[in-house]
């Protein structure tokens, strides 16, 4: 029997590899296509606002973000981590700057950051927030009897949580005010807040993007994606060559 001519052997080999690679990359192609379509509509689907959950954080193996400042008022621990305010580990609001205090005041709790005031229920549920818009940032929050006092670098103000208003208060004896003081978190509290902050940072859009690009597997993921992309390139070329030969 005569051996097949080299060009025929090459064509046979190309057809065979094209078929094998085509079938074996089928699942991958479907996944890439679907994940690409979903990523394209991530905003409408709210993926960037949806935390990926703690189980997936283990895969990322990144250090927990620290709580940058924390204050206790009543039974609620308020802390800021990565620009988000938490009450007992539950996300309350995005916030710019650091916390400056938290005080319990007649059925509610007042929390202050450098440029915002928050009023919560006794259990930490957020009632209202208020940006006073003063040029000088708030530096301290305290109680003078029933009155909630806010200090800036230049002045003292009285905050009315009922009307969410801030008025200049001339009759403030700074020494008579019980200023809210920061607290240190124990290991468990720090871990709870760190996990919550990491959960917000690593949302479903991020996870899907990392899976789509192969970065979810830190050492080999990129190379798997590279090899698959090369296979697809090969299929494009071999498919085109086989098609032109047939014509």
């Amino acid at each position: 029997m005569q051996p097949a001519p080299p060009s025929r052997r090459a064509r046979h080999w190309a057809r065979r590899t094209h078929r094998v690679l085509g079938v074996s990359s089928l699942l991958f192609l479907v996944f890439i296509s679907v994940s690409g379509i979903v990523l394209n509509h991530a905003e409408e689907l709210g993926l960037s606002r949806s935390s990926a959950g703690t189980w997936i954080l283990d895969i990322y193996d990144v250090p927990l973000p620290p709580a940058e400042s924390a204050y206790q008022a009543g039974d609620v621990l308020f802390a800021i981590s990565s620009g988000t305010l938490y009450a007992n580990g539950e996300e309350l609001s995005r916030v710019a700057g650091q916390l400056v205090g938290a005080v319990a005041s007649t059925g509610s709790i007042v929390v202050a950051s450098a440029d915002q005031l928050f009023v919560t229920m006794g259990d930490g549920a957020l009632l209202e927030r208020f940006s006073p818009g003063r040029s000088s940032p708030m530096t301290k929050l305290g109680l003078d009897g029933e009155r909630v006092i806010v200090a800036t670098q230049d002045d003292y103000f009285e905050f009315d949580p009922e009307n969410m208003s801030l008025s200049t208060s001339s009759a403030v004896d700074a020494d008579a005010v019980t200023w809210s003081l920061p607290v240190s978190l124990n290991a468990r509290q720090a871990e709870d807040i760190g996990m919550a902050a990491l959960g917000l940072a690593i949302n479903w859009e991020r996870v899907l993007l990392d899976v789509h690009s192969g970065r979810i597997l830190p050492s080999v993921g990129r190379y798997i994606a590279d090899v698959t992309a090369l296979c697809l390139l090969y299929m494009c070329v071999s498919g085109f060559v086989l098609w032109t030969r047939r014509r």
Partner: protein
């Protein structure tokens, strides 16, 4: 000749880059209007009557549907006189809340202001060429804005935040007026 063209092209590119970098470095992040200034502009006084509206039941569902997430607070304060209501709404653009001041009169938006912008991109929405698009806009039968808002390239998320806030303000205004008329008719 080609050398001159190349030089001009490089010069233009460098100039454009410098202008862009300066605009970013100048930080369009900022506080453009305080609450008192917004209320003074809207009502002629910085202490108009105010009340709160609670996000419960049907209103919470409507707000969630418009914003794409549940309201961050349990209640919202608003200011009013005989014809107008004013709302201060915080909505996240990409990562940080943008504070909008929105005035509603006769079921239509009278003015929308960007009071505080904390994002690093998308600050163009504070300019009148964008905010004027909301003037006289109202709700259609399905509870959405009755006119399309033109987006700004590179500021899509900020534009979305403004559009959703305007929609929410109109829904809240409608709710308060309906509640007021129900209270009056039941007396």
């Amino acid at each position: 000749m080609p050398g001159r063209i190349l030089k001009t092209a490089i010069f233009s590119l460098v100039a454009a880059l410098l202008v862009s970098v300066t605009a970013i470095a100048a930080g369009e992040i900022g506080r453009y209007q305080t609450r008192a200034e917004f209320l003074m502009e809207s009502f002629g006084t910085d202490e108009p009557s105010n009340a709160v509206i609670w996000f419960d039941g049907e209103l919470r569902s409507a707000a969630t549907s418009v914003m794409g997430h549940p309201p961050a607070t349990l209640r919202m304060r608003y200011w009013y006189d005989d014809t107008k209501t004013a709302w201060i709404i915080d909505e996240i653009g990409k990562e940080q809340p943008i504070t909008f001041g929105i005035v509603v009169e006769n079921d239509k938006i009278l003015a929308l202001r960007v009071m505080n912008f904390r994002e690093s991109r998308g600050w163009e929405i504070r300019y009148p060429f964008f905010t004027q698009q909301f003037s006289q806009i109202r709700l259609n039968e399905s509870g959405s804005l009755n006119r399309r808002i033109d987006s700004i390239s590179g500021a899509t998320l900020s534009v979305n935040a403004a559009t959703k806030s305007a929609n929410l303000a109109l829904i809240l205004d409608e709710h308060t007026r309906r509640a007021t008329s129900t209270a009056i008719s039941s007396r």
